[in-house]
């Protein structure tokens, strides 16, 4: 039986909502507050007000993989170098939480993984330094220390960004947010090696450049077609709203761009040829899919027959 693609995608979005994991999210928020207060206490006058960023702040989070990000804007004169700033924040967090969490340096952030009553709580701390002395509250421009290879940038350098502009870019764009969430679900469930930020920007650009309309599948398909047709063009750019010099498409090399274009092409063809294929690329989170279960907790009791293998039986 053919699958109604839009209905399926609605269910995918529904089962991946954060509201299904409210208790866990509370733990996250409490942990974030704890980290935030500790940093504020320690660095006091050296920082401006921290801001929540990341997928949760942008309303593009999915419940199978997320972390909470906090950006700490440091004053221009707080440290001599960005590296020193990054290391100080890392050292502080490491000393503070080494007995209760794994603290590690990441590309532009410091990742802290707490284990709270069996749940992993991931908090990412992004230390940034205002671009110009005492200008942060006016322009929100920050320089971030880049700890390892980040696209075309060499190791141990910095990148200018504007977290507020990145958050603002997606404000009020609910259609875009749904497609971004679907692509993030695909990324996570199919181990697709693309950055969420890249998927966000390319989705927003597709909505800007193309007429993206129709039902949910039609919208998603149009965005996928846009990626298929454009990502590997030499002239294609994805400007970081926080830094117009940062072309986010440069995080992919040519082979990766071609692979992504081919991937989109295969996905569209396979789903159009056989609608059930949509379940491979965009699976429902079956942890929160209980409404289809019968009273014994089986989705489809018709598959049960004594002594005969069911359809899922592989051979070989």
């Amino acid at each position: 039986m053919a699958t109604d693609k839009s209905q399926h995608l609605q269910q995918v979005l529904e089962t991946h909502k954060m509201l299904h994991i409210e208790k866990l999210l509370d733990k996250y928020k409490k942990t974030r507050t704890k980290v935030k207060e500790a940093l504020e206490e320690n660095f006091k006058d050296k920082i401006y007000n921290p801001i929540n960023s990341g997928s949760y702040a942008k309303h593009t989070a999915i419940n199978i993989k997320f972390d909470l990000d906090i950006v700490f804007p440091f004053k221009k004169d707080s440290f001599k170098t960005l590296e020193e700033l990054f290391d100080e924040v890392y050292n502080f967090l490491y000393e503070k939480y080494k007995n209760e969490a794994v603290v590690k340096k990441q590309k532009v952030s410091i990742g802290i993984v707490f284990n709270t009553d069996g749940d992993e709580i991931n908090i990412d701390v992004v230390p940034g330094r205002e671009l110009n002395q005492e200008q942060y509250n006016n322009d929100y421009n920050l320089n971030l220390f880049v700890n390892s290879l980040y696209g075309l940038l060499a190791e141990k350098t910095y990148i200018q960004t504007n977290i507020q502009a990145q958050i603002d870019l997606i404000k009020g764009k609910s259609d875009e947010r749904n497609i971004i969430r679907l692509l993030k679900i695909w990324k996570k469930t199919n181990a697709a090696p693309y950055k969420s930020f890249f998927l966000e920007l390319i989705t927003i650009k597709a909505f800007d450049k193309e007429d993206i309309s129709g039902n949910l599948w039609e919208k998603l398909k149009s965005v996928m077609e846009y990626i298929r047709d454009n990502v590997n063009k030499d002239s294609f750019t994805l400007k970081d709203p926080g830094n117009s010099n940062n072309n986010v498409v440069d995080t992919l090399d040519n082979a990766e761009k071609n692979n992504l274009s081919n991937k989109m092409s295969n996905m569209i063809d396979n789903i159009e040829n056989y609608s059930d294929n949509i379940k491979t690329y965009f699976p429902v989170n079956d942890q929160f899919e209980d409404k289809n279960m019968d009273r014994y907790g089986l989705k489809d009791s018709g598959i049960i027959a004594p002594s005969i293998p069911n359809k899922s039986q592989q051979f070989g």
Binding site: N259, N270, F315
Partner: protein
Amino acid sequence: MDFHNIEEINKIVSTIPFIDVLEDFKQAGIFLEARISVKNLKGLNENLNFDIQIFPQYPLKSHDSEALKFINRDLISYNHVMGDGSICIHTLHSPKLKQKLLADFESLKAWIEKYYINKNNDSHYEHIIINEQPFDDIYYSYQFTKVDYSFKKGEFGKVDLIPLSNGVYKKKTICNFLIKSFQSVKNSIKINSKWSDYYMNFEVKNLGFFIFLEDVPASHNRFAFSNWSELENYIPTDFLQFLHDFKKRNKKPKNTFLPIFFGYKTVKNEIHWISTLVKINEMPIAGSPILDSNGIKLKGQWKSELIDQKINWTITRNSSYKYLFGRGTFCDKITNAKILIIGVGAIGSMVAKTLVKCGAKNINIVEYDVKEPENVCRSEYSFSSGLYDKTFELIKTLHENSPFVNVKFHNNDEYFESFIKALHKDKESQKNYEESLNQFDIIFNCSTDNDLIFVLDQLKLSTDLINLSITNHAKDLVCAFYPNIYKYVQNQFINILDNDVEDLYNPTGCWSPTFKASYNDINLLTQYALKEINRKYDENKPKENFTLSINSENNSNIKFTQY
């Protein structure tokens, strides 16, 4: 019976512009024979004469050889001339007499220009020509492979031989051996061949001698010497003394024989070994008195010298990895990988054997099941071995197919599947399994076990895990790469593919029905899948899932779907 129209042949040959016919073709037994002179070629100062012999099969070839020979024994020192003075030519296939004759003469002209006038050398190496003969009506062959050692000119010693098999070769008995190791007399080092552990554990049953000559023991660099006396300037006297001492000391029956291996350098300092067999009481040496400066015999002082005796060349082959797999392998990323195969039923055994045939060097297997006679028809197992543990039989089969693969059981082989499932929720066990599986570069899961896939998908693996399975009737093959295996495979089998679970094969007395498909059905898709997997590794393509489907009633097409 006349095989040819002599008149027609003479007429065609008379039209060829660059030759004079010295003697027309005439019948000589079953052959036609003629004599010609090649003239007027640029750079050819004097005419070149050739005897021509045409075989009854002409213009067809006989086996791989042309059925027409151009012979001039004076040209033996030139490239591509055989021991009987015939020029080695290969021309186009043609059943038409005129076309073939003209092509063969053109080919002779091309040979004269390239090798006689311009004295070109070929870029590829050709082995010297050896007249390999049976010894007392039995053939003996010796295969060698690379060693990590540089032999020095004149170095000699003993060779340990392991018997490989006895069989039939050119309708005579043949005894096949492998060279296991060399033991140099001067420095007592054992120089082991780089065969797999399986072969290196074979017991040494025979002995030989070696002498590394460095230079090629051949006339014109192409025809192996035929008489021991020709080796006089190649073999040092201490080796002859060594032979003499051995003959004296030896208590075996005097007609016992052994091989003597001569080593020399070929291209890029590669070493080739050729071998002769000698009876101990017929060593090709004789004592001769040592003379003083005045030519007077020194009393009681003798030396060994080579005598005028025919060399009994026997068969040697360089079976090192480079040559054994020279005709085609999988890419290095696969052949050099440490590979685990989970489940060696129909698909798993085909995957294992194909990997080995394609040059894989390190394979580990896991299987709990036994081979029953009815498994034989669609897997790589033999009837002749009877009932057998699949792992034991496959390990033997794989070793028999390559002397360069090491095949082992993976830890707790038969309990792997039950243990990993029982322990899959335990964090510590998970870590142990991750560590144990991540030591492999590639894992093929051919177990077709949904529960096992589910468990493996939960692990944090850095290895490449590849799942291969088919639907009933081998209508489709599903290939999935970690970490997109469990849900993808489930969706394929339940929703996408037509997995007919009603038309199954129910063996008499067996409670468990199985799928219907022949060796041909399964192997067709398995080989296609392996070819695609090899391409992904070779071209560094993303490891993305795919399916193969026989998508029409008459098998006319296999549909490849990339996910």
